[in-house]
Structure formats: structure tokens, C-alpha cells
Amino acid sequence: MNRNNKKVIHDALWQNNPIFGQVLGICSTLAVTNLVLNTMVMCLALIFTLSFSAVSVSILRRFTPRNIRMMVETLIIAFYVIIVDIMLKAYWPQMSENLGPYVGLIITNCIVMGRCEACSNSCAPAPALMDGFFNALGYTFVLLIIATFREVLGLGTFMGFAVPFFSGPYWDKWVIMVMPPGAFFMLGIVVWIFRAIQLRKE
């Protein structure tokens, strides 16, 4: 792996992480992180969408007129999101119901548009794929941290299974953690901690 690739990965996962570096895609971060399983499926959907739309935008970059490029990008993103939505509806109806409108809202997830604009429409398909994939991974790991804390503290479960102590009588479940305010608290704390580590390193 050459140095350039390493830098892309390091940027996407850490230095310029979509959540705590660029602070993009916060809407879904707040909305779907109260259950770990839902978060996981949501993140897989984003990995799929972001990787493939990055490649598609990159392939079409030489033909797409500059003045309508955002329209084309939105169309491509919507295309992949709808595929995910249809697949969930057909093969995992329960999960499709759990996620509700949030799968469709990946279309407006700023990370996807952001990566298409920042990278895919100016570089070759392979680097674009890498950039998209690792940015989605950067989003995924932060969301999973948030979701784990929210579900364990708020419901006493992890992926639906009872966690010892937190599901027991000595733990008064923090219901606020699974409600929208809990998402703001957790996101704030996570961004704070990661940024503090980043700053210290610098």
C-alpha cells in the first residue's frame, strides 16, 4: 500500500473523520443510534451507497457537464439508496420498518454528497472507491460507539440481548439515552473526546 492510500485511510477514519472531523451526516447519527442492530444496518447501507456512488460519479466524471454535476450526483445517490430500500423491503421487512424513513434519507446524507464533490468527481474510480468506502467506515465506527452506549445505558441491552448489571434491578435505566436528547449528549461527548485526542497529538 503506497503512502497516498495510507493518507486517504488515515484521513477518512481519523484526521478528517466525517463525524467528528467534518461534522457531516449528523442527522442520521442522531436518529438511528438508539439500537445497535438498526445502526449496523444503517451503516452497511451507507457503506454500500457511498462506495458505489463514488465509483459511478467517478466513471461519469469526464462526461458530466460541470453545471449540472450536482443533479447527476443526487440522481446516482438516490439510485443506490432506492436499491437498498427495495432490498430491505423485500428480504428484511422487519428491519425496513425499524429504520422507517431513514434509509431514504441517506440521499440527503451530506457525507455522500460531500465525498462525491470533494473526491469522486476529480479522481479515477479506484481511489474514489477507496475514499468512499473508508469515509463510510469512519462514519460507521463512530456511530457504533454512540449506539452501544445509548442502547446499554438506556435499555440495558446490546443488539437486543440483556447485558448483565445494566438490565438488572440495580441499574435504573437512563431512558433519556434512547430519546433524541440522549443522542445529542452522546454525540457531543464523542466529538469532544476524539477532538481532544486529536489536538493533544498535534
Binding site: 461519469l60 457537464p65 440522481l75 446516482i76 436499491i83 421487512p93 420498518e97 422507517g100 435499555l155
Partner: protein, 206 residues
């Protein structure tokens, strides 16, 4: 060519057409499955509220479940007030009344099971809801739904009351879900509207 004024229009048109075609293909390919899933979710909910047809936690294939629905459950007739019925050689055992209405985020759809006396609830089940996971969505969990078992609906403008969590209950009320006031208020209205409407239409069994 890419410098021409008309190029962006043609380009957008072609791109849209290509992607749309693929999506239409996808939708067609899965539409039967999606429709079957929805149908099955409904049938499952009906079976779940009728006594003895689909015990909680039973493992059964989708095909068997559908077959059981076809074999046992009778569609609404002129005396059942819009409810599906379960009969044993003609004698009515229970009603399964479909309900639906607006929840907090999206439509809630479910089924209420009512026994042959036309006032005791056998069970309640929801097959479509989009309430907040962990809060409003608790209505679909067994802990909440079990409360309905054996409750007696009244002939009034509020056949079944939702009370605050922890409050003392009688035979005509259940506890709402903590932190899900909106969902519960709307669900209470959905259930009561459906029950009142049903009480007006259902005919006494001979």
C-alpha cells in the same frame, strides 16, 4: 460536443432514463415479494390475536402460516362488523378486528382479538408501525400487548382507557408506555374509534 448548449439536457435525460429503467426492473422483480411480505405480516397479526392459532414464540414457516390462515380464518361477513372470524363448525369463537390510524411518525396498523361475548379482548397485535425505537415502538412488544388480555370493553365513548404508567388499573384500562405520550394518545384514539365503530356494526350471534 460536450460544449454544446443542449448537451446537459440530453445528458441528464439519458442518465435519468438509464437509472430509472434499472430501478423499475428492480421494483418489478421484488414487488411480488414485497406484497407477499405485507400480506403475511397481516395474516400473522390476525392469527396471533385469535386464541390458540399462533402461540407467542412458535417457530413456523411462512408458507405454513399462510396455509393456517386460509384454513382457519373466515373473512369479514355481514354479522361480524368488518372483523375476521374464527368459527368451530359454525359456532363463533372469536373476532379479529383490523385497526389502523395515524401514529406519531406514520400509520399504525394492527388487529384486536375479541372473544365471542363481543366485549372481552383476547389479544392485540401490530403489524405495521414506525414509532420511535425504544419508546413508541414498545407498543409492539409483548410486555405492552399482554396488558390487553382479558380486558373488557365498555359501551361508552371510551371503551378502553390508557392510563399513566404505574397508575391503578381496572378491567377497562391499561398502562401507557413511559416516554411515548404521543404514540399512546394516538393509539388510544385508533383503538377506541375502531371499537366504537365495530360495536355499532356487529350483530349479536344467534
Amino acid at each position: 460536443m460536450t460544449e454544446k448548449k443542449w448537451f446537459p439536457i440530453i445528458y441528464m435525460f439519458i442518465i435519468t432514463a438509464v437509472f430509472s429503467f434499472v430501478l423499475i426492473g428492480f421494483t418489478n422483480f421484488t414487488s411480488a415479494r414485497v406484497a407477499a411480505n405485507q400480506r403475511l405480516a397481516f395474516e400473522k397479526a390476525v392469527l396471533a390475536v385469535l386464541p390458540g392459532l399462533y402461540p407467542e414464540g412458535e417457530k413456523i414457516s411462512s408458507l405454513d402460516l399462510h396455509q393456517r390462515f386460509v384454513d382457519k380464518v373466515l373473512p369479514p361477513d355481514e354479522t361480524s362488523g368488518g372483523a375476521y372470524t374464527l368459527r368451530d363448525s359454525g359456532k363463533l369463537i372469536a373476532y379479529a378486528l383490523p385497526i389502523s390510524g395515524r401514529g406519531f411518525w406514520a400509520e399504525i396498523k394492527g388487529v384486536i382479538g375479541i372473544s365471542a361475548d363481543q366485549k372481552t379482548i383476547t389479544a392485540v397485535s401490530f403489524y405495521q408501525q414506525n414509532e420511535t425505537p425504544g419508546l413508541g415502538a414498545e407498543i409492539a412488544k409483548p410486555e405492552f400487548r399482554k396488558q390487553f388480555h382479558g380486558k373488557v370493553i365498555l359501551f361508552s365513548d371510551k371503551p378502553l382507557a390508557f392510563k399513566r404508567p404505574g397508575e391503578q388499573l381496572d378491567a377497562h384500562s391499561i398502562n401507557a408506555v413511559t416516554g411515548a405520550t404521543q404514540t399512546c394518545t394516538r393509539l388510544e384514539k385508533i383503538i377506541n374509534d375502531a371499537l366504537i365503530n365495530w360495536q355499532k356494526q356487529v350483530k349479536p350471534e344467534p
